[in-house]
């Protein structure tokens, strides 16, 4: 993904160089790098004393001791440059916000928070990030630039930041504020402090304002919040299976846990639908006619529990058990409308819930996912902190090791694949796909014929013999058997195919299973709507029964499945064929089974409103069953697949073919099929939807609800409305699509920019190395670079590297000078740029010379301790060259002296003064570290001067 020339970054100096950062930091108010070290430095500015190496400890004790001088040397310089720079320095900051103690106009604050909540919160985040960064960059070994602040300045700065934060928090609404405080990356004590400050501020403001309304609203929000906490606590208590979830997650990891989470989620759907159906359809029916009209010759025989026929036929279990009357008791209750709207609203709500969870899941899990970074991901993101079981931990460690080794050898393997091999692979894929598709189609066809056979034998009579009743179990049995056996074949095919990644393998498996289940369900639906609907007098109940049977038999087979799928293979794996090993829990297969089961329930909701009750029972038992089966028979998964993505796919699958299929089946039934004439709430109507038309006709008579009729006539029934709506949606989709494309482009550009920055850095270092190589005679004596490379990589503030940076800068300056010269020659001499260039050249020369002198002096005084001849010599050559050039230019451009010269002179004077100041302490024999830092500071000065010259150059235009 990232490709850059790696010329420079093997140089240790590369990692330490802070050139770019220094430039950026001084020019922007908030540093670009987020550094997560928010803690350690509290507001009181004491340093944390963690388990630090002695090396760290030295750097962490900047005040006092023999190191003092070196720190002074470093500190004095950025201080200087800050004050010379035209940015708003921290003291101004201080003045701006020192008014904090006086509460600002509260009216203003309030109105702001009302008017621009999004902006405020946006700023908020920025500020929070800013604070984090600022606090982090105060870390002693972070950045030499910030060491510049004395302790007081740091404390000041932090206080101000904190106060700013508090001010912003006060402006937010209560709820936002709590969230904002929670999200702060600080320790609890700091958060608490900020919170108390905010509250104090608020109460102060309130006492000032003291209107009844504000008081009330405050109280209201407080009580609402308390209420919210109460609800949250209650919900947590009601949360199902917390302990079991923890146990499973601890032993098997998140990927297996996702199955159980999914199961629980579906269970919630069913509980909701049961409550809705039971509340709005069944209870009214039971209230008005508590006893179903069961014909006296039908008795309960026990088989009904499996078949759902016979005794159950006329109960509220099925469509047929509901009446079409408008009950007049305490209030009018129209059963037809209740039935229709309950089902419709439930379906719509389900759809919305699915779409929302799918969209959010896609947003977080799929769109952003990037398969490219694999081993970094494995190292830093794949460890499952959930896992608490020692065996699981050991196994996971093993698996990770194997995976890493595999990934290392993978590249070599991939190259070895020849044409014939790839052809062979292709052949296997083709064969497997053909076979699996034909299996799916074949099972669909066989079920079709089986259904026809069954319809021929079945009679439309109220009471069946026991044998007849048992015969009805044939179709569900075959269907479930196919659902159990065919996927095993698919898994078998999968063993022969060679997929390049595990993900592709799982996708292939999932697609095949979905095809199978879809074809089976499609055949069944076709049969119900075209054959059953014509043949039986109360056909909806017949379909309801068929679905009941399917749900029950499917449940039995799920139990069998976990017996065969997990228990048997465990026995085989441990006793008979140890080669196979203990089975893993197949999340994909099990989740697809759940999806299938849920689809049955969705289809059945129209025909059998109480089917969700059965489903709840089923899922409830299934949860414990699977849990036992898992802990007894399975081992943790060998591969830590990307579980979150799989979960997204499963939700998407649940929505797209299955839920949409179920809804269209129900919608088709409601719109186009004639309800049975003698039973059910819709008897006597042409179609179920007619109930709405009848209602509308009824409403038209009463004048009070004309608007409902109007909406029905002009919105629901008008094509124009739907046409317009779809047109608008298409336009919006198109716009968003374009926006997305633009963003993608932007991301690409930004990424390229980052890579380029890296390239720049390494290029500069390469230049530096070349320069060093050009003085081989001196280099042979020199020990500096070696020493440097041995230094800890986090030692940013070592002097040597900033010297090198400065030299790179000097080099660049020279280059630029040359360029400018060329330009000038070609354009025929524009006065201003020539001025600037000559001035910048002058600065360069002066600085370089100064530095050279300084270093010479240093060398003179410290020859016994330390050598830095290369730097000096190169600096000398630099100085000489630059000076020469400057002189040449000076003679060329002497005719137009302008004001810029004077400013340059001032710069130079300042720089020189400072350099001298810095040099002074070094006259005292000091430890070797400070030598370079003084030189470096002079060089940084040079850089700054150069920058300024450039600014002036820009202003000149």
């Amino acid at each position: 993904m990232t490709s850059y020339s790696n010329g420079g970054f093997f140089n240790p100096a590369y990692h330490d160089s802070e050139t770019l950062e220094i430039d950026r930091r001084s020019s922007s108010k908030t540093p670009l790098h987020t550094n997560p070290y928010a803690r350690g430095e509290g507001a009181d500015g004491h340093y944390s004393t963690g388990p630090i190496s002695s090396d760290d400890a030295l750097r962490r004790v900047p005040r006092g001791g023999w190191q003092e001088e070196s720190w002074r040397g470093r500190e004095s310089l950025p201080m200087g440059h800050i004050s010379t720079r035209p940015r708003s320095p921290s003291w101004q900051h201080d003045i701006n916000h020192s008014t904090f103690q006086i509460p600002p106009d509260s009216q203003y604050d309030r109105s702001l928070s009302i008017r621009l909540p999004s902006t405020t919160s946006g700023n908020m985040t920025m500020r929070r990030r800013g604070i984090t960064m600022r606090r982090m960059s105060m870390f002693p070994n972070g950045d030499p630039n910030h060491v510049a602040f004395t302790e007081d300045a740091i404390r000041n700065e932090m206080d101000i930041e904190e106060q700013n934060l508090v001010k912003e928090l006060v402006a937010l609404s209560t709820r936002d504020r709590i969230w904002a405080i929670r999200d702060l990356p600080m320790s609890f004590d700091e958060k608490k402090q900020i919170r108390s400050q905010v509250l104090a501020f608020k109460s102060a403001k309130k006492s000032r304002q003291f209107t009844c309304f504000a008081d009330c609203s405050e109280n209201m929000s407080l009580s609402f919040r308390r209420c919210g906490y109460g609800i949250r606590s209650a919900r947590q208590t009601l949360e199902l299976w917390q302990g079991i979830m923890k146990e499973i997650g601890g032993t098997f990891g998140t990927s297996v846990l996702s199955y159980f989470v999914f199961l629980k989620w579906l269970l919630m759907f069913n509980i909701f639908s049961f409550l809705v159906n039971f509340g709005f359809i069944t209870i009214p029916q039971l209230v008005y006619s508590p006893w179903p009209n069961i014909s006296p010759n039908v008795s309960f025989r026990g088989l009904e529990i499996l078949t759902g026929a016979g005794y159950f036929n006329n109960t509220v279990m099925y469509y047929g058990g509901y009446s079409n009357e408008t009950k007049v008791h305490l209030a009018d209750y129209n059963m037809q409308l209740a039935y229709f709207f309950t089902i419709a609203v439930y379906m719509v709500l389900c759809g919305i819930a699915l779409i929302f969870s799918m969209a959010s899941s896609f947003k977080t899990n799929y769109v952003l996912a990037d398969p490219a970074s694999n081993s970094a991901w494995q190292l830093l993101c794949s460890w499952d902190f959930n896992i608490t079981n020692d065996k699981a931990v050991r196994q996971r460690k093993n698996n990770l090791r194997v995976q890493l080794k595999e990934s290392m050898s993978e590249k070599a393997q991939r190259e070895r694949i020849t044409l014939s091999e790839s052809l062979k692979h292709f052949g296997v894929y083709l064969g497997a796909w053909l076979l699996s598709t034909s299996l799916a189609v074949g099972s669909g066809a066989s079920i079709y014929y089986l259904c026809q056979f069954e319809q021929q034998r079945a009679t439309d009579s109220a009471n069946w013999s026991l044998l007849q009743e048992a015969e009805t179990l044939l179709v569900p049995f075959v269907v479930s058997l196919m659902n159990l056996v065919v996927p095993l074949f698919y898994s078998l095919f999968n063993k022969f195919e060679h997929y390049s990644s595990q993900r592709k393998q799982i996708y292939a498996l999932v697609v095949r299973n979905v095809l199978l289940k879809m074809s089976i369900l499609a055949v069944l639906c076709y049969n119900w709507m075209n054959v059953v609907a014509v043949k039986f007098s109360c056909w909806e109940s017949m379909v309801g029964q068929a679905l009941y049977r399917l749900v029950i038999v499917d449940f039995l087979f799920l139990m069998l499945g976990s017996f065969f799928g997990e228990f048997l293979s465990n026995v085989i794996g441990t006793k008979l064929l140890p080669r196979l090993g203990v089975p893993e829990f197949d999340v994909a297969r099990n989740v697809l089974e759940l999806i299938y089961a849920q689809t049955l329930a969705w289809i059945g909701i129209y025909f059998s409103p109480l089917l969700p009750a059965i489903q709840i029972l089923k899922f409830f038992i299934l949860f414990y069953l699977k849990k036992v089966s898992l802990t007894q028979n399975c081992q943790p998964p060998r591969r830590s697949g990307r579980a979150a993505q799989m979960q997204t796919i499963f939700i998407a699958l649940l929505f797209f073919p299955f839920f949409v299929g179920a809804v269209s089946m129900v919608a088709f039934t409601a719109w186009s099929l004639t309800p049975s004439e003698h039973c059910g709430p819709f008897r006597g109507l042409n179609s179920t939807f007619n109930v709405v038309e009848v209602w509308m006709v009824h409403l038209e008579e009463t004048s009070s609800s004309q608007w409902v009729v109007w909406i029905y006539q002009n919105v629901i029934r008008s094509e124009i409305f739907y046409f317009l709506i779809s047109l608008i949606i298409i336009v919006i989709i198109y716009i968003f699509w374009q926006v997305t494309r633009g963003r993608k482009l932007l991301i690409h550009v930004l990424r390229q920019q980052i890579v380029n920055e890296g390239k720049d850095k390494s290029f500069l270092l390469e230049r530096l190395q070349n320069l060093q190589k050009s003085h081989p005679d001196k280099r042979s004596k020199q020990k500096n670079p070696k020493k440097h490379s041995k230094r800890r990589p986090d030692d940013h503030s070592s002097g040597g590297q900033s010297t090198s940076n400065a030299m790179v800068q000097a080099l660049l300056a020279r280059q630029q000078l040359e360029k400018e010269e060329e330009e000038r020659l070609s354009t025929g001499g524009v006065p201003v740029p020539s001025d600037i260039s000559s001035s910048s050249a002058l600065i360069q020369a002066m600085q370089a010379r100064q530095r050279a002198e300084g270093q010479e002096r240093d060398e003179h005084y410290s020859a016994g301790y330390y050598e830095s001849p290369t730097n000096t010599s190169s600096a000398v050559t630099q100085a000489m060259q630059a000076r020469q050039r400057a002189q040449v230019e000076g003679t060329d451009d002497a005719s137009d002296p302008t004001s810029s010269v004077s400013s340059v002179m001032m710069q130079v004077m300042q720089a020189r003064q400072r350099a001298e100041e810095e040099d002074r302490p070094q006259w005292v024999p000091a430890p070797p570290q400070n030598r370079a830092s003084a030189g470096s500071s002079a060089l940084i000065q040079a850089m700054l001067a150069r920058q300024q010259a450039q600014n002036e150059y820009d202003d000149g235009y």
């Binding site: 794949s382 460690k397 093993n398 979150a644 997204t648 890296g758």
Partner: protein, 187 residues
Amino acid sequence: MGNKQTTFTDEQLEAFQDCTFFTRKEILRLHGRYRELAPHLVPLDFTNSPDIRVPPTLIVTMPELKENPFRDRIVETFSEDGLGNMSFNDFVDMFSAFCETSPRELKTIYAFKIYDFNRDSFICKEDLQKTLTKLTKGDLSPEEVSLVCDKSLEEADLDGDHKLSFSDFENMVSKAPDFLSNFHIRI
């Protein structure tokens, strides 16, 4: 609270609820867990916020952390003194960052801190090597470790400085959807 002895005042609990992702009940449960670790050290009554720190050797015996390869780093990262001695506030902080509702941004920050063994605010090769040895029980040969670390650095390092800054890490995490569910400890 009824006739039970009060552990926290209402104000304290409210502060906890406002500043962490836990409810009152969870806070009390956490207190129970904290007290379990060192019953002789931790009093039942926290109303006057006693300054008590449980040493890291006791903290890592929690079943939630016992088998975690990063347990020492986690404890160090969340303790105020950086040595792993945890006050109750630190303890709550730790599980608040690891809980399900804490946002990606916060988790990323703390994960970065945990992986940054030498606290230089960069995940460098050294840190990666330590991570890898913790994750693989040290079964890989030094060359393999080095190879894997180089590869990971190359993949995740955007600005080419051969170590992972926080923004590199953030970028990587944003592409790893599992991170959120993985960086989660159920209490």
